[in-house]
């Protein structure tokens, strides 16, 4: 069995389509990482943005309360009014906090500019700041924590984007697994050997799944590596997801930090990927040419998204939200799964578990269907 898996892996690697797709994927990945982490908003107008951001983060990390908000904003308007306009770094951390907590976000900058023109300074007491309660942040036994969040939002965006990349690459690889042998007319030879029906099918499923997992892990590892450099380590991991004000998830009902959310996102993607692999293999086993199997598999992958454009409520809509294409963006699955309006239960964790169970079931069902099909396969 191990030997057959090894040969099947080799067949995948030697396929021209795969080699081409891998090169293109690496380029796209480089693009995603570059735009996501290097061209990020954080860099703002000048390259000192990142440095300044980390200074502010270091000062501001800690328990999230009204006092903390006030401190952050005090420093923010001080900094804004101290430097001359040309060389002040844009501070995205505080800017996002200001947007959230200052009653009339826009006005403050006018007021500060006017004050500076008159040689004066706007002070924190002249601004009306909303309280955490007013905005309605979720409350738990432990207080919320604040810390580096802009970078984590960028990580979430990149993580979401690379899911599409991984999925497409994996669909491309897996759609070849059975259909390329069919199109080569190899089936009469392979399927008339002793192990060609049962063990070969299992070996192909293992090889394809293993390969896909490898792709998944390497791409995520590269992305995490890039994030590590960008974020200066993993600082901010224990920041509550609610205080990531760029995400606007103030009321998110579960006590999760940013690392939890990342972990959940990756876990959800991983299980979704297994389902995609299984479905694609099934398509591959039923089509005669790699190209049609690619089109059908991609179509099925995207279909739930298209359907949600037509069906926007009701049980079918809920069902559609179970599919990876509708819940892969990090913010989307957090919001979708936290309300009964969009999902099945009124409990985030229950919805998350339901989704995973359904995806695992899809994986098992389709892998089994492939096995049954190849076991009984007949030429036509």
């Amino acid at each position: 069995m191990k030997t057959i898996v090894k040969y099947e892996m080799e067949k995948i690697q030697q396929n021209k389509t795969f080699i081409g797709a891998l090169v293109i994927s690496l380029l796209v990945l480089a693009g995603i990482l570059y735009i996501g982490f290097y061209q990020a908003q954080l860099y703002g107008i000048d390259r000192n943005g990142v440095e300044h951001y980390h200074q502010v983060v270091e000062k501001s990390t800690g328990e999230f309360n009204d006092q903390k908000v006030k401190e952050v904003l005090t420093n923010y308007i001080d900094h804004y009014q101290s430097d001359n306009v040309d060389n002040r770094s844009f501070d995205l951390f505080s800017w996002e906090i200001a947007n959230t907590f200052i009653a009339n976000g826009e006005d403050v900058y006018d007021q500060m500019n006017n004050a500076m023109k008159q040689g004066d300074k706007l002070t924190i007491d002249q601004i009306s700041i909303k309280s955490i309660k007013e905005i309605g942040f979720a409350e738990f036994l432990e207080p919320l924590k604040v810390g580096s969040f802009v970078t984590w939002k960028d990580l979430y965006n990149v993580t979401s984007q690379i899911f599409l990349l991984i999925s497409i690459l994996v669909i491309l690889v897996c759609c070849l697994v059975f259909s390329s042998d069919t199109s080569r007319n190899m089936n009469p030879l392979l399927l008339s050997t002793k192990l060609g029906r049962k063990q070969l099918t299992i070996a192909k499923i293992i090889a394809a799944t293993f390969f896909s997992i490898l792709v998944f892990l390497s791409i995520h590892a590269l992305s995490l590596g890039a994030f590590f450099i960008y974020n200066g380590g993993f600082t901010g991991w224990d920041t509550s997801i609610q205080t990531n004000v760029s995400m606007e998830l103030f009321k998110f009902p579960v006590e999760l930090n940013q690392l939890h959310v990342f972990g959940l996102a990756v876990a959800l993607q991983f299980i979704g990927l297994l389902a995609i692999v299984a479905l694609t293999l099934y398509v591959s086993s039923t089509t005669r040419s790699p190209f049609s199997s690619l089109l059908i598999a991609l179509g099925l992958f995207l279909l739930p998204k298209a359907l949600t454009q037509l069906i926007k409520r009701g049980p079918i809509y809920h069902l559609l939200n179970l599919f990876p294409i509708n819940n892969y963006p990090v913010k989307d699955f957090l919001t979708l799964m936290s309300t009964e309006k969009e999902f099945f239960f009124d409990n985030f964790m229950q919805n998350m578990i339901l989704t995973m169970v359904v995806l695992v079931a899809i994986t098992i069902i389709f892998n089994f269907a492939v096995y049954q099909r190849m076991k009984q396969y007949q030429e036509t």
Binding site: I4, Y7, R184, P188, K194, G196, R197, E379
Partner: protein, 290 residues
């Protein structure tokens, strides 16, 4: 050991590719003779279990091969008619891959594959990628892979396509030495390939098994139907139109014709010994343009 087909019929949508074929084979070499589209590949696919017959049964040692497909596949060797190899596999790697699929343990497989590659004359190119192989080399690789598991039932669909005369001889010797206590069935259009090695010939015509028997016996059936005659070149066209010609040889302004005909085709025609090739033409005369 025996392989038996009973009333096997296969119809594709509108074509009947095999029509009520029945035969029983015991160990020996069998040549399946049939023109293009006569159903040879269809028959082989059914025997190897990759195509389901519409009606009828195939049994190996009285067990239905479909009910016992795992057991039957482990004693089967099959070379299908056309398929494309993995171009980046070497010949040796391909052999080892098939050996793995045949459940042969690794060490034994290496030895066996090397042995077979040598037997078909591919030992020099065994580490070359298959995309660099010539047509005949690929064909020999196909023959070798079918034999890896030392099959009791060996089915070869047009194994000699693309082989040069030297390789054909080598192939015949290989089959002859291999076939002891085994059922070997091979199809071909090239009569001479099976004339010498086949113990029996099965004639398949438009899905019907028309005849079977040792080639000498089959040839006897057309004794008296094969003629040779000399004609002037100006009468040649008329003769070619009127008769089934198995050979023509030009000698100056005259031509010697070999004619297959129940009646004497010309006053000066002489009866000659029939060959298997004449027999083929006799059976498949419609395709020969008559």
């Amino acid at each position: 050991m025996e392989l038996e087909l009973k009333n096997v019929t296969k119809s594709y949508d509108d074509i009947i590719a095999l029509n009520n074929v029945s035969f029983r084979l015991v160990p020996g070499v069998y040549g399946l003779l049939g023109s293009n589209g006569s159903g040879k590949t269809t028959l082989f696919r059914i025997i190897s279990g990759v195509l389901k017959q519409t009606t009828g049964t195939v049994t190996h040692n009285r067990e239905d091969i479909r009910a016992n497909s795992d057991a039957f596949r482990s004693v089967l060797g099959f070379l299908p008619q056309d398929f494309s190899y993995y171009p980046d596999f070497t010949g040796m790697k391909f052999m080892l891959y098939i050996a793995a699929l045949k459940g042969i343990n690794k060490n034994l497989a290496k030895k066996r594959c090397l042995e077979l590659l040598t037997l078909v004359g591919l030992e020099d190119v065994k580490n070359k990628k298959i995309k660099k192989y010539s047509g005949g080399m690929k064909q020999r690789l196909g023959i070798a892979q079918a034999m890896i598991n030392d099959p009791e039932v060996l089915i070869l669909d047009e194994p000699t396509v693309g082989l040069d005369p030297k390789e054909r001889v080598r192939f015949r010797n290989l089959i002859s030495s291999f076939s002891k206590n085994k059922i070997v069935i091979l199809s071909t259009h090239i009569v001479s390939d099976i004339e010498y090695i086949a113990d029996e010939i099965l004639v398949l015509n438009k899905g019907i098994l028309e005849n079977r028997g040792p080639s000498s016996v089959l040839i006897e059936t057309i004794r008296g139907y094969v003629w040779e005659t000399e004609v002037e070149n100006d009468k040649l066209d008329q003769m070619l139109m009127d008769h089934l010609i198995s050979n023509q040889k030009h000698e100056g302004n005259r031509t010697v014709l070999r004619i297959i005909s129940i009646e004497k085709p010309a006053p000066n025609a002489k009866q000659v010994h029939p060959t298997l090739e004449d027999l083929y033409l006799y059976y498949f005369r419609e395709e020969a343009g008559r």
